[in-house]
């Protein structure tokens, strides 16, 4: 039987939103990937309790949900940083030294283990070919594409993110 929502150690409001989305779909396991996509959209990642919630609501084993969530690179079980920097690791980017760009980000943000900086501000990961090979090496910063990135550009890109951040917080103060 489905548990009461408050028993899950995640934001109840978000959980309701996910529940509503699931109710809007046809029943059946065929929708599992779509549900996980939506869940990640809502929560930013897939916490264990969210997976449990999905499994119970769909009436399928939690192992199945976990199996699918771990299979696809799109899903993550770790909370992500406020800013997500994805370095494309397609072949075209690789032969143009995308790995050096990745190293530069990691070392500047002092990320040693995992993908997220200690302060939780930045996540640096790799992404499969996004098909913008003409601009290799390519990175995505919060979803926006930057092309022809050199390791030397990394410092400027990080500064840009911070400037944006400060601007937004100033605007926030004024309101």
């Amino acid at each position: 039987m489905a548990k009461n929502m408050s028993e899950y150690k995640v934001d109840t409001e978000k959980l309701h939103k996910l529940g509503d989305y699931m109710d809007s779909l046809e029943r059946g396991e065929g929708e599992l990937i779509n549900i996980l996509r939506e869940a990640q959209e809502i929560f930013g990642y897939l916490p264990q309790d969210v997976q449990l919630f999905i499994a119970r609501k769909m009436g399928i084993p939690a192992a199945k949900v976990f199996g699918v969530a771990t299979f696809y690179s799109f899903f993550t079980m770790e909370p992500r940083g406020k800013h997500v920097i994805s370095v494309c690791m397609g072949t075209a980017c690789f032969v143009k030294a995308a790995d050096k760009v990745l190293d530069e980000f990691r070392s500047r943000l002092k990320i040693v283990n995992g993908n997220t900086s200690e302060d939780g501000m930045y996540t640096v990961d790799t992404v499969r070919c996004i098909g913008a090979c003409g601009l290799a090496p390519v990175i995505l910063v919060n979803g926006k594409v930057y092309g022809r990135v050199k390791p030397e550009d990394v410092a400027t890109i990080l500064e840009d993110i911070e400037t944006d951040e400060n601007m937004h917080s100033e605007v926030g103060l004024q309101q």
Binding site: T91, F94, R128, G131, A132, C133, L135, V145
Partner: protein, 597 residues
């Protein structure tokens, strides 16, 4: 309808979008409005022109002037000079690298001269978000033709006769696939469009979906009519947001006009299309894995036979074709199988779209007849190697393909010839490498990819590829012996023979082909502990050329290990034993005195 006298076609593909083509289109619109020309001149966002290297691209019609690398700031200049004064803006024209000549017309450019566009015919010509423009260029006429004048068997016969083979990699005859699916007895059948373009470095399917989504929708309906399916699924990568967006719009518009749904064009035939998103797994390009993923599970392949043509999605007969294959269907129906067969080679009819990338001048998409040589593609269309470096190899077929060295540049490529030289067509990615690329390292890159993407179902692929990667890592770190190379070759062969699906059966190809053609490089890594291309960090040795060193002391200050010694204005020396090979000295030296070998 206003009488427009001029169209500014702005490339709205992902490549150009990331170089601000949307902003450019907005600015152009604003400038045109400011000049009160909005009833005469129109800005149209089109699909990819293929010339991504030179984006954003603006083509002015009917003047037929082709502008490259137009930044949003130059919108005002373009409107003022070209539109208001009728003068071609010289500084925005493409300059041919060899002759330094400015070329104004697209057809003059070597990049476009040898192309023959069938699958990409509407990319860069029409607005993909406007179904009327597709209809204006004979859109949905092929569907109309088959529904009113051809029987399903005749459609299949026509496709079989055309010699069209699957453009996704395997090269299986499309007509045969349809025939098998048609013959399977079942109440329900499915059409799947494989838009999970997973080969890194291949982006033709994305460009077709972004530039001409209706051509795929129309072809899926035709396929449905031919095999007796009423439902189609597009399985598309989540990494392609723009393609998803355009496809969604196209499907909606097709429904609005009754070109999808029930009773299409007043006939009894009905067809529905649904979008399903991939969640990032390379193996899902394999048919059975894709079906498992569509059903909501892990995208693991199953043993074939039974083939999807017999038992596919939800256990029903299913035909799976890739995007580029579908894009060829309507032209074949409209122009006839004989026309299509007259293009290309005997066993590989038609054209193929290749995605040129890597160390090449004109990165982009080209569509050429089968049988074009690699040299023509890389040097004539691709404009040769970047920065006048020397060509070393071209990798085709993605992680399943191989590296082709210089001596095979004159091969007339089709499905069979590429297989003969140890590579494969794959989906058509072509990554060009120069002398600065280490081939062992490239093989290692591909193995990292396959290890990451192996679904883990069969041992040969799951464990075998991991061992291959370990061996390659040993080689690049100078810890391998000559017999290691033998083991590498043996294991590669075993994995090829014993893996369950196409991923494992082809994953050692990058190793085998580089070992075959670049054996010397492997030997250099193993015997001399040296990376000839200067890539493998652990094998690098930095030293300072005493002739060039001016004794500026910059490198000594930059060295994090503090192992560079020398007095001011005297040649410095690196302590090779203590060097951590970080490259800081090389980066900072202004005289090019730090050498890497």
């Amino acid at each position: 309808m206003s009488n427009f006298r001029m169209d500014l076609l702005v490339c709205g593909g992902t490549g150009c979008q990331s170089t601000d083509s949307f902003e450019l289109a907005e600015k152009l619109n604003a400038e045109i409005k400011a000049a009160k020309l909005q009833d005469e001149v129109r800005v149209v966002l089109t699909g990819c022109f293929g010339f991504c290297e030179q984006g954003p691209i603006v083509k002015v019609m009917p003047d037929n002037i082709f502008y490259v690398r137009v930044s949003p700031d130059q919108a005002a200049l373009l409107v003022k000079e070209h539109i208001q004064k009728g003068r071609v803006v010289q500084e925005l024209l493409y300059e041919e690298p060899e002759t330094k000549q400015k070329l104004d017309e697209q057809s003059d450019m070597p990049f476009y001269k040898k192309q023959n566009r069938i699958a990409l015919k509407n990319c860069g010509l029409i607005d993909p978000e406007n179904i009327n423009e597709y209809i204006a260029v004979d859109g949905y006429q092929a569907l109309g033709k088959v529904l009113t004048t051809m029987s399903p068997a005749e459609v299949i016969e026509e496709i079989k006769k055309s010699g069209l083979r699957g453009r996704g990699g395997g090269g299986f005859p499309t007509g045969l696939k349809w025939e098998y699916t048609k013959k399977s007895d079942a109440d329900i059948k499915f059409i799947i469009c494989n838009a999970d373009e997973g080969d890194p470095g291949a982006f033709m399917d994305r460009s077709i979906l972004e530039g001409d989504p209706h051509s795929v929708i129309e072809a899926m309906a035709i396929a449905g009519y031919a095999i007796g399916a009423q439902k189609g699924y597009v399985y598309i990568r989540a990494e392609y947001p723009l393609a998803i967006h355009r496809l969604k719009i196209a499907v909606e518009q097709a429904y609005e006009l009754g070109l999808l749904g029930k009773n299409i064009l007043g006939t009894d035939f009905g067809f529905d299309i649904y979008l399903k998103y991939g969640a990032g797994a390379f193996v899902c390009g394999e048919e059975t894995a894709l079906i498992n993923s569509l059903e909501g599970g892990r995208g693991e392949p199953t043993v074939k036979p039974p083939f999807p043509a017999e038992i596919g999605l939800w256990k029903k007969p299913t035909s799976i074709n890739n995007v580029e294959t579908f894009a060829n269907i309507c032209p074949i129906i409209l122009n006839g199988a004989d026309w299509f067969k007259s293009i290309g080679t005997e066993k590989s009819a038609g054209t193929k779209v290749f995605a040129l990338a890597g160390k090449i001048n004109n990165v982009g998409l080209v569509e050429v007849p089968m049988g074009t040589t690699l040299r023509e593609i890389i040097f004539d269309l691709g404009g040769g190697i970047k920065d006048d470096r020397k060509f070393k190899a071209v990798q085709t077929g993605g992680p399943s393909g191989g590296c082709i060295p210089e001596q095979y540049l004159d091969t007339h490529i089709d499905y069979d010839t590429l297989g003969e030289i140890g590579s494969m067509m794959g989906s058509g990615g072509m990554i060009v490498m120069d002398e600065d690329n280490c081939m062992v390292n490239i093989a290692k890159f591909y193995l990292e990819f396959t290890v990451d993407e192996s679904c883990g179902r069969c041992t040969a692929c799951r464990v075998g590829n991991k061992r291959l990667l370990e061996i390659l890592t040993h080689i690049t770190e100078g810890e391998a012996e000559m017999e290691t190379l033998e083991r590498l070759k043996d294991l590669s062969q075993i994995i090829k023979d014993s893996s369950l699906c196409g991923l494992g059966q082809t994953s050692p190809n990058p190793i085998l082909s580089t070992m075959k053609y670049f054996w010397d490089e492997y030997v250099a890594h193993v015997k001399n502990k040296n990376c000839p291309a200067g890539v493998c960090t652990k094998l690098l040795k930095y030293h300072i050329d005493p002739e060039k060193c001016k004794g500026c002391t910059l490198c000594a200050k930059a060295c994090p290990a503090g192992i560079i010694s020398g007095k001011v204005k005297e040649a410095h020396v690196i302590d090779k034993e203590a060097c951590i090979k970080c490259g800081a000295c090389e980066k900072i030296c202004k005289f090019g005195a730090v050498l890497r070998k």
